[in-house]
């Protein structure tokens, strides 16, 4: 249709959806809604991953982000009882300022990233790099060290969360 391939169509739709949901995240008044929109957005992003033949990542994205992290968010929101319909908003001036700064940022960045000149590099067909085998191979050979060291990060996060959550007992 319109001279566009399926890939291109899908990309267009998914992009549109992800942008739309992202905007909803920002604009929705209730934090709960924001979480839900964010999950929707993640789903569209996972779609894009699929489009890019990164099936494993797409799944992980949904499992980790939409499944785990977002639930964490929801929990916290519920915990804090923030599910009112409205909450205090920034002043219009701040919003306009934020919007215009964001707009400028976008403008400048797209201007910079426009002529990427990487058109000489093209790829057609089905990519296998995103498959779990190849990812695992890379992860446990080339990226073994980061993989190991990231445990420190998780440990640290854990320790931090524990410390924050702990009661002050001498």
């Amino acid at each position: 249709m319109f001279g566009l391939s399926v890939h291109q169509w899908l990309f267009g739709i998914l992009s549109f959806l992800s942008v739309l949901f992202s905007l909803m995240v920002v604009f929705s008044r209730s934090p709960v809604n924001s979480v839900l929109y964010l999950i929707m957005s993640f789903f569209s992003i996972s779609g894009i991953y699929l489009l890019l033949d990164a099936q494993f990542l797409a799944v992980v994205n949904i499992v980790v982000y939409a499944g785990a992290i977002m639930v964490l968010f929801l929990f916290v929101i519920m915990l804090m009882n923030l599910n009112q319909d409205t909450e205090p908003q920034r002043t219009v001036l701040t919003k306009v300022l934020a919007g215009s700064i964001g707009g400028m940022f976008l403008l400048v960045l797209t201007g910079l990233l426009k002529n990427t000149e990487s058109t000489d590099k093209t790829f057609y067909g089905t990519s296998t790099v995103g498959w779990i085998q190849s990812l695992g191979k890379v992860l446990f050979t080339e990226f073994l060290f980061p993989f190991e060291i990231i445990t420190v990060l998780l440990l640290a996060a854990m320790a931090g969360a524990v410390m924050m959550g702990k009661k002050n007992i001498q």
């Binding site: 060290f145 060291i149 420190v152 320790a159 001498q170």
Partner: protein
């Protein structure tokens, strides 16, 4: 690498100490761990020239070893300083392990050879610090500090990632050597430069170069003072090694594209930091602005454009001098403030109450101000000397004026020490053995290296 592993083990062991109930030996254990790491560093320094680990992810060459030694020394001094703090702190275990984990991030940053390790280093360094900044749980200011640091830090991480992604897009690899290769070719797309700039921005955020410094004063003020001391030292040291590595070596082909921006940032940053510091009333906030100013001065090494051992020597010397002086200053303020708010007024008349502390503070401040015979002078000398060779000779004037403004607020602090207090405070200041040790060691280090800079400034030969 030995250091990294030792610290990692110490951190994990520390983390487990609560479960296995050896909290009592935790403190000596940590000191021991740091000492052993230091020992390993010396061993490795003597043995080989450089070790590569895990497919070029890490490169423990002399540079990494030297700077990691500075980091270890800083953290060692920090532990001496934090002893008092630990005594009154419930979550000792978490603190110890978080600090050690943060140190691991710092060690990664001095040894990285790959953008992945860079990213992980930055994050491992930062995330424990976010928590530590907020660690005074009952204090909303501390919470706020942690929160602000976290939000802004993550925001900056976003830019770091964006930059890394763009560079990856350019070269198809995270390996810095390959990126360097690609950058040397002719047709480099402009988004690569944007990526480099983004990485620079993210790192500038970490070392707080204006206008990416906004978190610094607030977080420094809000955090417990020991954490502030840690933040202001190891973060600066490690991230500056990263900056130097990237922007004077690996990204050097793109040098003309960002150097003028760096110049502009330095000037702006120096002006903003020094001017803002002039009328501060909070000691930590003042030192925050001072740290911004120091970071900008260190960044001058990038624009000096000297790509040999002398730059590394200069950075090593500067980070060493700055770290020791900072720890010294913070620890004295900690003692004087006695867990109350660290306004500058606590220093009033200190000289007449506890002259030893004030001598320590004077030496620390003079070192920061770059007065001989303290180490800070030689550090400043190095910068000026490097600038003299650079195409931006006029920056010398800026550096001089910044130095002068800097000395103004250091002197203002010194002035307070000699101000007669109207009502002498009732509680006498107590100095623990650890603090004695810390202060004496720091003073000796600052003076010895100031008088005999060869001891450090000759670390890297040609």
């Amino acid at each position: 690498m030995g250091a990294l592993i030792t610290i990692l083990s110490t951190g994990i062991v520390a983390f487990l100490s609560e479960i296995f109930n050896f909290k009592k030996v935790l403190y000596p254990l940590s000191l021991l761990g740091i000492a052993i790491s230091f020992f390993f560093n010396i061993q490795e320094w003597n043995h080989t020239f450089s070790w590569k680990y895990s497919d070029n992810m890490l490169l423990f060459d002399k540079v990494a070893l030297a700077f990691s030694s500075v980091l270890l020394l800083t953290v060692f001094l920090w532990f001496l300083m934090a002893n008092t703090y630990f005594k009154s702190e419930t979550s000792l275990v978490e603190h110890t392990s978080l600090v050690l984990f943060s140190l691991i991030g710092a060690l990664l940053l001095v040894a990285f050879n790959n953008l992945v390790t860079l990213f992980l280093g930055v994050e491992i360094l930062s995330i424990p610090l976010y928590v530590l900044a907020a660690s005074n749980k009952k204090n909303i200011l501390s919470n706020e500090a942690g929160f602000k640091y976290l939000i802004m830090g993550s925001f900056a991480s976003g830019f770091l990632l964006f930059g890394i992604a763009l560079l990856y897009g350019l070269s198809g690899s995270f390996d810095l050597k390959e990126i360097y290769q690609v950058l040397t070719t002719d047709q480099v797309p402009s988004y690569a430069y944007a990526g480099i700039l983004m990485i620079f921005i993210a790192l500038a955020f970490k070392v707080s170069i204006a206008p990416f410094h906004f978190w610094t004063p607030d977080v420094y003020e809000g955090s417990p003072i020991v954490i502030t001391a840690l933040m202001s030292t190891i973060v600066k040291t490690s991230v500056f090694v990263a900056i130097m590595k990237l922007f004077l070596w690996y990204f050097y082909p793109a040098y003309p594209h960002y150097i003028e921006l760096v110049v502009g940032l330095i000037v702006f940053s120096l002006i903003l930091a020094n001017f803002s510091a002039l009328k501060q009333t909070n000691a930590k906030r003042l030192l925050a602005f001072s740290s911004i100013s120091h970071a900008s001065i260190m960044l001058l090494l990038v624009i000096a454009d000297i790509r040999n051992a002398s730059t590394l020597n200069a950075l090593l010397y500067y980070t060493f001098a700055y770290s020791v002086a900072s720890i010294l200053a913070f620890s004295i303020i900690q003692i004087v403030a006695q867990q109350k708010e660290e306004t500058l007024d606590v220093l009033k008349g200190l000289f007449y109450k506890q002259s030893f502390l004030s001598v320590g503070l004077i030496i620390a401040l003079l070192s920061m101000g770059g007065i001989p015979i303290t180490a800070g002078f030689f550090a400043k000398y190095y910068i000026l000397s490097a600038l003299m060779m650079s195409p931006y000779k006029w920056m010398i004037i800026v550096a001089i004026l910044a130095s002068v403004l800097g000395i103004v607020y250091y002197l203002k602090m010194i002035l307070l020490l000699f101000e007669k207090e109207n009502k002498p405070t009732a509680t006498p200041l107590t100095i623990t053995t650890h603090e004695w040790l810390l202060i004496i060691v720091s003073i000796v280090l600052l003076v010895i290296t100031g008088v005999y800079p060869d001891s450090i400034a000759q670390t890297f030969l040609k």
